[in-house]
């Protein structure tokens, strides 16, 4: 085979401090407790940095700083002034894109090709997009004179650390809210780098506060009596806890949770592009995507042909060093996640589905899982029902469009779906019937700040992105 020599992106351009504090009121401060956590590079298990594990008192300080900033500065600032800060942040993100991409790949394990070409451009795009809305909120169609909610508590996952931060912070600030954000405990580094960007942009102190820690920190933040809004992206399990915790309070909440999306390929689809779309749908970001197309529903008449093409294509995927520009599949984010993927894959085999992976060398250190296909999957198998959140695709078949819709909707989730057909009328017919927040046609995993994103059923509620995303951060009173 025509072997590509390694083309690693240099990690010298990032400056990782050995230890990080909390970012509260525009300053780096030490945690009041002594608890510390470490973040590692999942591709090598090397410790990258130590960071503070915030406790309730730390969270309290952060919320107080956000409240003060909201009352004294940010909540009163005209939209056009807030927009300037957001534009400034967007531009700094663009200027520092290469550095941030390397940092993201180091901390998360995702290939640099994706952090560089997908994550970072989208992060900047979200800040630009919401900067544009900051002075036009009255024209968003959400009612006259919409007002900010106050302090937003935001808890984000480890799969797209910086992108999820942008999805949360950009609309919150554009609408005039202040923020306390907790990044995931396995991927805090880009959020901490973002704290520096806030300082570089001269954002008033307290408008953005970043507290690091684990589940207990998140709980303290969500439960804090002085937050007005909770935004969470992560597992359905944690989402349930949050929903319970905020029930009966005045807090507004948006939850963006798990998914088990169907990627439906009809016999008349553009086959080569469908194969690409299926690959992108499930193997993008090692399958650590809540809207991943983890169930392939293929029309029986082309099942063999499509599977053959898919296996051939999978054999060309390159797994390895996330910083290598030619890597397609990086490392699994954590040992815990790897264990979960292994457990579910073994369950798949036990239940009688047939497992297939291309032969690819697996690095000795780090957390790795090869791209995996399961054929002969039934709707009742665990691998067809539960979110695996890894590079594992379950293949099911169907015979008629109605059956495809039925099977696609037969899941507790409803975040996304994909339809592959050359027939336009069928795309519309399917999109009408699929119970999913996003339905992609002849493409998959495409994101745009102007497009709202969110789920049905156990995939959560509320929408992020687009004009709809503003509503989650505004108090709209009919006049």
């Amino acid at each position: 085979m025509f072997e590509y020599a390694p083309a690693p992106e240099s990690r010298d351009i990032v400056d990782i401090r050995p230890t990080y504090g909390l970012f509260i009121n525009g300053e780096w401060v030490d945690s009041l407790g002594d608890a510390r956590d470490k973040t590692i590079n999942p591709a090598s298990e090397e410790v990258l940095a130590e960071f503070a594990h915030a406790d309730e008192a730390d969270v309290d300080r952060a919320v107080a700083a956000a409240r003060k900033a909201y009352d004294s500065v940010w909540g009163r600032l005209p939209g056009r002034e807030r927009a300037k800060y957001l534009f400034r942040i967007a531009r700094i993100v663009q200027e520092r894109a290469r550095e941030l991409a390397v940092l993201e790949s180091l901390d998360n394990g995702k290939p640099i090709r994706e952090s560089r070409d997908v994550d970072l451009p989208l992060v900047a795009a979200h800040f630009f997009y919401y900067a544009g809305w900051a002075d036009k909120l009255e024209h968003a169609g959400l009612g006259q004179a919409p007002r900010p909610l106050g302090v937003a508590a935001q808890v984000i996952p480890w799969n797209f650390p910086l992108l999820m931060l942008a999805w949360k912070i950009a609309p919150a600030l554009a609408c005039g809210n202040t923020v306390v954000l907790k990044p995931a405990e396995t991927t805090p580094l880009t959020a901490l780098a973002f704290a520096e960007i806030c300082r570089q942009a001269d954002l008033p102190p307290g408008v953005v506060n970043i507290v690091t820690g684990a589940g207990d920190t998140g709980r303290a933040l969500v439960d804090h009596p002085d937050v007005d809004k909770v935004a969470f992206t992560g597992s359905t399990e944690v989402g349930r806890l949050i929903a319970r915790s905020v029930a009966g309070t005045r807090k507004r909440v948006t939850l963006e949770l798990g998914g088990k999306a169907a990627n439906i390929v009809f016999e008349d689809a553009a086959l080569d592009q469908a194969v690409e779309g299926v690959v992108n749908g499930i193997f993008f970001n090692q399958g650590h995507v809540c809207c991943a197309g983890s169930r392939l529903l293929v029309q029986e008449s082309i099942a063999d042909e499509l599977l053959g093409a898919l296996k051939r294509r999978l054999s060309t995927l390159r797994m390895g060093d996330p910083l290598d520009k030619n890597t397609d599949i990086g490392a699994i984010n954590s040992a815990a996640q790897l264990a979960k993927i292994r457990e579910l894959s073994e369950a798949g085999e036990r239940e009688g589905a047939e497992r297939w992976s291309p032969s690819c060398p697996i690095p000795e250190k780090g957390f790795w899982f090869p791209p995996t296909l399961f054929t002969g999957v039934a709707q009742s198998h665990r691998i067809a029902r539960e979110e695996i959140f890894g590079p594992v695709l379950s293949v099911l078949t169907f015979r008629t469009p109605a059956e495809a819709v039925e099977k696609a909707n037969n899941t507790p989730y409803g975040l996304s779906a994909g339809v592959w057909t050359e027939k336009g009328s069928r795309i519309l017919w399917m999109a009408d019937r699929l119970r999913a927040g996003v339905v992609w046609a002849n493409t998959f995993n495409r994101f745009d700040p102007a497009s709202p994103f969110g789920g049905y059923k156990e995939s959560g509620y509320g929408r992020e992105g687009g004009r709809h995303g503003l509503e989650a951060y505004l108090d709209v009173r009919p006049m």
Binding site: F2, A5, E422
Partner: protein, 320 residues
């Protein structure tokens, strides 16, 4: 031609049914895939190998009304020794000339192993009768051409007269035959689809299959006289077609993008495309060619850069 394809070619209706039954090509998806493969980063040893491979795949081409025997002789010298100062540079795959200059090229190349390709069949428009096309081909073959680059009748193709296109390819393929006693095998037939005039990727896929069913040894994107000439996505679609055709018919067909490939960076992108679409079997001059006239000097310049760490100026490479 296998039995099943005999049935496919039985009438225009069966041909049409077959070609329109092929999976469609989604333009957006194909463009994205080609763009993604274009971002592969090729460095050091891999790049050095890629440059030599690309040089050995070049069809050094001159197709101008002003071509002279002298110009062809000079080009042939360059084809054999692309860089007179560096004998480690491989020779190119072929030189490509008009039929009337084939004899000169054969003479100049001698037993160097560089093949002679000739564009026949009323190149570049192909708007002439079948008799003329066949005769054009026969003359080039008789003069010693190893490869014939024919153009398809785009007018017939676009009007849906697939059978006419098919028949012409079959007739020209027959004209490529040589008496076994002559010592040289049959000339290889490269079928130029002129993808810039076919407009859609669906048409590119159909035309590729049509040419392969009719017996083409190679499918080639362009004459170089129409814009756009070769593009990465069009070549991607053609590579998918030859890959699928081998699965179905058990026969390999080569691919040649031609026109507009000027830089080493471009050439390497094509090699990546071949590697990840059709596979490494196609990564030889026997099954993949780059039709280009100005590409070779850039490849040589990059090769020099890899060896010495410095760029030399264009004057350090010959213009022939």
């Amino acid at each position: 031609m296998t039995t099943s394809f005999t049935e496919v070619a039985a009438s225009n209706a069966t041909l049409r049914a077959f070609l329109h039954g092929l999976p469609g090509v989604d333009r957006v998806g194909a463009d994205q895939r080609a763009a993604m493969l274009g971002t592969r980063s090729i460095k050091t040893t891999a790049k050095a190998r890629a440059i030599d491979l690309a040089i050995s795949m070049v069809d050094l081409t001159t197709l101008e009304g002003a071509d002279t025997p002298g110009k062809v002789r000079a080009m042939c010298a360059k084809a054999v020794h692309p860089d007179p100062g560096d004998p480690s540079v491989p020779k190119v795959a072929a030189v490509c000339v008009y039929p009337d200059l084939v004899g000169r090229a054969v003479e100049a190349l001698g037993d160097s192993g560089v093949r002679v390709a000739s564009v026949a069949t009323g190149f570049p428009s192909g708007r002439t009768s079948l008799e003329v096309k066949v005769r054009d081909t026969e003359l080039a073959v008789a003069a010693g051409a190893d490869e014939i680059d024919m153009v398809i009748d785009r007018g017939a193709f676009l009007s849906g007269d697939y059978r006419k296109v098919f028949d012409e390819i079959v007739a020209v393929k027959a004209a490529c035959a040589r008496d076994a006693a002559a010592g040289k095998g049959d000339a290889h037939l490269k079928v130029i689809l002129e993808t810039g005039e076919l407009a859609t990727y669906d048409n590119v896929r159909r035309a590729s299959w049509l040419a392969m069913i009719a017996g083409a040894d190679f499918v080639k994107t362009s004459t170089g006289k129409v814009s756009p000439a070769a593009t990465l996505p069009v070549t991607l679609v053609m590579l998918e077609a030859v890959r699928d055709f081998r699965d179905r018919a058990g026969r390999m067909v080569g691919v040649k993008p031609a026109g507009g490939i000027r830089t080493t960076k471009d050439a390497v992108k094509y090699l990546v495309l071949v590697n990840e679409t059709a596979g490494e079997d196609w990564l030889t001059p026997e099954w993949f060619r780059l039709g280009a006239s100005s590409l070779l000097n850039d490849l040589l310049m990059q090769r020099g850069k890899m060896a010495t760490g410095r760029y030399s100026g264009p004057d350090y490479f010959t213009l022939d």
